[in-house]
Amino acid sequence: MAYEKLLTRNIHRDNSHTIDVYLANGGYQALRRVLKEVSPERMLEEVKTSGLRGRGGAGFPAGVKWSFLPKTRDKPRYLCVNADESEPGTFKDRLLIEKDPHLVLEGIILSAYAIDCHTAFFYIRGEFHRGYRVFQKAIDEAYARGFLGRNILGSGYSLDVLTYRGAGAYICGEETALLESLEGKRGLPRLKPPFPAIVGLYGCPTIINNVETLANVPYIAERGAAWFAGIGRPKNTGPKLFCLSGHVKRPGVYEAPLGIPFMELLNEHAGGMLHPDRPLKAAVPGGSSMKVLPAPRCDVLLDFDSLAAAGTSLGSAGGMVMDSSTCMVGALLNLAEFYAHESCGQCTPCREGTGWFVKILRRLEMGEGRPEDPDLLLDVARRVEGNTICPFGEAVAWPVSSYVTEFRSEFDDHATRKACPFGAASVR
């Protein structure tokens, strides 16, 4: 069965990022039709029925999130596009932004229309310099051709899209931290409730959606919810961009329906393991924050529910692959340092716990470990998880608890040694 590329249909064309190429390949037709013939309420229903789940990491049904908006119109509604892609192992939004920005933009316009929003913000991480320039240019092109601004295509619907660059903070990918950053402050996550759909940007009802999520919307508009729901698996519908990196031959972004087996993605899309004599040892299917799967458990389907049943999560679909040369203690130390650098520092368990993980893991990796250290890591992780303002607590606790649990013997062994047994080949 040949899989029809949807999200990556255009990316290999020359000048795929330009509006002319986009238009020449059928772009903005869906928008034309919807603005003429489909009410915003119908559009919202269509997205709901399609079963599209958020592609940023939570997998929350997009249409359901949109329906949380209050019925009143006393405050303007805002749509914020989360282009802060910073989850280690994830680079799929960047691909769309740089290679097919108009697909994303058409999705933004359709979605803003569906939720009666007239100002949308494109929050892009500061390090995506090229992506920012390309997307701003795409926006300028869209204005010039009448797809943005006042009275789009004579429909009476108006929309402005404003770009906003982050400045280096992973936490700003969290919805409410993104809003804080957009308001010109430190990117500290907010207490919830209230949720952004009720009290969001500038206190107004706000929807935050991931880039890839919105890139699906033109297809839903063009071909309908039923068609979309036929791709993938029940409750895990639609096409998906999967990232693979680490010890694989061809690291990259691969499009497949939700539910593709991990081993098929690894071997048939990414070329299999990097070194033939170093077999798969562990893989993280969904970005560094999701629990690690040891090789024997990597025979899984890559969708939200299957991975949840397997004890991990699809997350941002940022798959990272580790072969037998990898020291799992070193790998976890690397990630623990990431989380310690990126913690916003607001709440006690995360602010203090992330630093503590690094200190314990450094001792283990440097040969100063103690037999009680693995259990200590597990207990500290247990005390962080569930007690924080935002999911960053889980994002650091899950790797710690899963690496220690799944590779316990390696951690116990480190605690007895004066040096890491993986030596130079390890992650250090």
Binding site: K48, G54, G56, G57, A58, F60, P61, V64, S67, F68, D84, S86, E87, A169, Y170, I171, C172, G173, E174, E175, A177, R186, L191, P193, P194, F195, A197, I198, G287, S289, M290, S313, G315, S316, A340, H341, E342, S343, C344, G345, Q346, C347, T348, P349, R351, E352, G353, T354, G355, W356, K359, I360, R383, G386, N387, I389, P391, F392, E394, A395
Partner: protein
């Protein structure tokens, strides 16, 4: 960034509302409540609370203490310390009590093993980078880390590595010192400067474990309310410079009183030890100052300790040989209070006889209490002195928080008792009349016109009779024929009426030295020399007399004033 704990309800479920999770099924014994209230259970006990109340607040109304650091009722909710996490039935994760609103039928549990275990964890996290400074830290004895460690902590730490280090004696403000290692980043101080003083000097800088409180480079925490950040800091990170290493708080005894630095009359506590006031802190009073006070008021006790004191009565020869029996010195080198008061009465009488009663006047301070002003009026009337002047003491402007430019605590009281409001023109006229020798006798109660530049000392020395009642060995006292030592701030009790007409009791916190006695008792004795009747045996008794005879104060009493004071209806 993944969002694994965004709730995934069934598609038909209503959106999560701001008022807490879905109600539990009907519980037994939930009391009925009004339209704006909800009934819930906290640790099995029924509570009725207004909608919008938080679980933490509702628990407080039934004496259930939910431990917390970052929450403060006078500031916005931050929810970052996580110490107030409690269990709510049907909600999978623990919820912070400071931000969770009560809902009908909610079942809250604060004593379960899960909650205890979580509190233990939070305590451990707070302590892993906290320095073991207790032996040298001012906060010891009133420190939430200490208190909660004892109540909720593990008792030992599992942290064996090097703690994060910060500067420990940062002169963050003129009166405030900051210790970066002790800070638990609760952000109460930042929120105070943003929301209350609205001066924005403080911020968190950096992030993660290295986040720390700081000011803009080269700028200081220098607003007039900086001391409040010290009060609200739950640990010893922010300390009040004048109080650093001054006394251990468990030796201090707090005496509730009223600040004397301006007409706001903030409710305060005078902390005393070994007959000295060591610090002044605000006392919560929603009618007057809320939770706060200004920095200047905190130092009100300092003058009483630092300035030269009038400890014993002084009698000096009056001009023209005027004086009572016993000659010019009246009573010898060290007169008793009684002898000095006799002399005072004698020289006033003599001056009145010589120049007429109209040549006598009095300066009455707006720093006196109502009781003192009341007796002043009676005593001066008995002595035939009709011209009473209340000098104003103004500095700066009223700000939009607490500070008043009127730097006297009882100017309003002076007006209500018929002494007249503080009046600069009247003072100037009096000074002119003294210089022109139209006024020949002056009674000065609690004022230092020579030192304040209101009446020149040389002019004062030309008077036939100068009687001064004060606690200071001031320039005016130097010119006096009779100087009678009185209590200063914090040494006797009495009532002030503040700028909004709110009356509050001050209390005696320390005993004065020497022969000083309360002003009202001196005035009573002077009055008696002129035939004034009445027992006037104590400040409360005098206040009762005020209530009985001055319509504005009808029905008031010390008991009715209580801790927070009461509005003066006639004000």
């Amino acid at each position: 960034m993944p969002e694994p704990n965004v709730p995934v309800p069934a598609p038909e479920a209503p959106p999560p509302a701001a008022a807490g999770p879905a109600p539990a099924p009907p519980q037994p014994a939930l009391p009925p409540c009004g339209p704006d209230e909800v009934a819930l259970l906290i640790d099995g006990r029924p509570v009725v609370a207004k909608k919008g109340t938080t679980v933490l607040q509702a628990a407080g109304t039934i004496g259930v203490v939910v431990p917390h650091y970052c929450y403060h009722p006078g500031l916005s909710v931050a929810g970052n310390c996580r110490m107030c996490l409690v269990e709510i039935e049907k909600v999978p994760k623990l919820q912070i009590g400071c931000a969770t609103q009560v809902a009908q039928g909610m079942v809250v549990k604060t004593t379960t093993d899960r909650v205890k275990d979580t509190r233990e964890g939070i305590m451990e996290f707070l302590l892993i980078n906290h320095p073991l400074d207790c032996p040298i830290c001012d906060q010891a004895g009133e420190c939430r880390l200490q208190q909660y460690s004892a109540e909720y902590g593990k008792g030992r730490s599992r942290f064996v590595e090097e703690k994060i280090h910060h500067d420990k004696r940062v002169p963050i403000g003129a009166r405030v010192t900051f210790d970066g290692e002790r800070c638990i980043k609760c952000t109460r101080c930042v929120r105070f400067c943003d929301e209350v003083s609205r001066t924005g000097e403080l911020t968190l800088v950096d992030r993660g474990g290295h986040a720390i409180i700081d000011t803009f480079p080269g700028m200081a925490l220098d607003n007039a309310y900086s001391g409040n950040t010290v009060d609200i800091c739950p640990v010893g990170a922010l300390t009040w410079k004048p109080f650093r290493f001054a006394a251990r708080v468990w030796f201090l005894k707090n005496v509730p009183s009223v600040c004397g630095a301006c007409a706001r009359g903030c409710s305060v506590d005078l902390a005393t030890y070994q007959n000295r006031v060591h610090r002044i802190t605000p006392r919560h009073n929603p009618e007057v100052n809320g939770w706060w006070m200004c920095d200047f008021g905190r130092q009100t006790y300092a003058p009483v300790q630092d300035m030269p004191r009038l400890a014993r009565p002084i009698v000096r020869p009056a001009p023209g040989g005027a004086g009572g029996p016993g000659g010019t010195a009246g009573g010898g080198a060290a007169p008793s209070m009684g002898e000095a008061i006799d002399q005072a009465a004698a020289i006033l009488r003599a001056a009145a006889t010589r120049h007429g009663a109209g040549a006598l006047a009095a300066l009455v301070s707006a720093r006196l209490t109502l009781e003192e002003m009341h007796l002043a009026k009676k005593a001066l009337a008995a002595a035939g002195i009709a011209r009473l002047v209340v000098p104003p003491h103004e500095e700066g402007q009223d700000d939009d928080l607490l500070i008043r430019k009127d730097r006297t605590p009882n100017g309003r009281g002076a007006g209500l008792l018929g002494l007249g409001a503080p009046d600069a023109a009247a003072v100037a006229a009096l000074a002119a009349d003294v210089a022109a020798r139209k006024v020949r006798g002056l009674v000065i109660l609690g004022e230092d016109p020579a030192g304040d530049g209101l009446i020149r000392a040389e002019a004062l020395r030309t008077l036939d009779a100068l009687v001064v009642v004060d606690w200071r060995a001031s320039a005016t006292v130097e010119a006096a024929h009779v100087a009678l030592p009185s209590c200063g701030y914090g040494e006797s009790e009495g009532v002030y009426v503040n700028c909004t007409g709110h009356a509050q009791r001050t209390r005696a916190a320390v005993r004065p030295g020497g022969l000083a006695v309360p002003v009202w008792s001196i005035l009573r004795e002077i009055g008696r020399r002129f035939g004034l009747g009445g027992a006037h045996s104590s400040a409360p008794a005098i206040f009762d007399d005020i209530a009985a005879t001055v319509p504005a104060f009808a029905g008031m009493s010390y008991r009715a004033l209580g801790e927070a004071g009461a509005p003066v209806k006639g004000a």
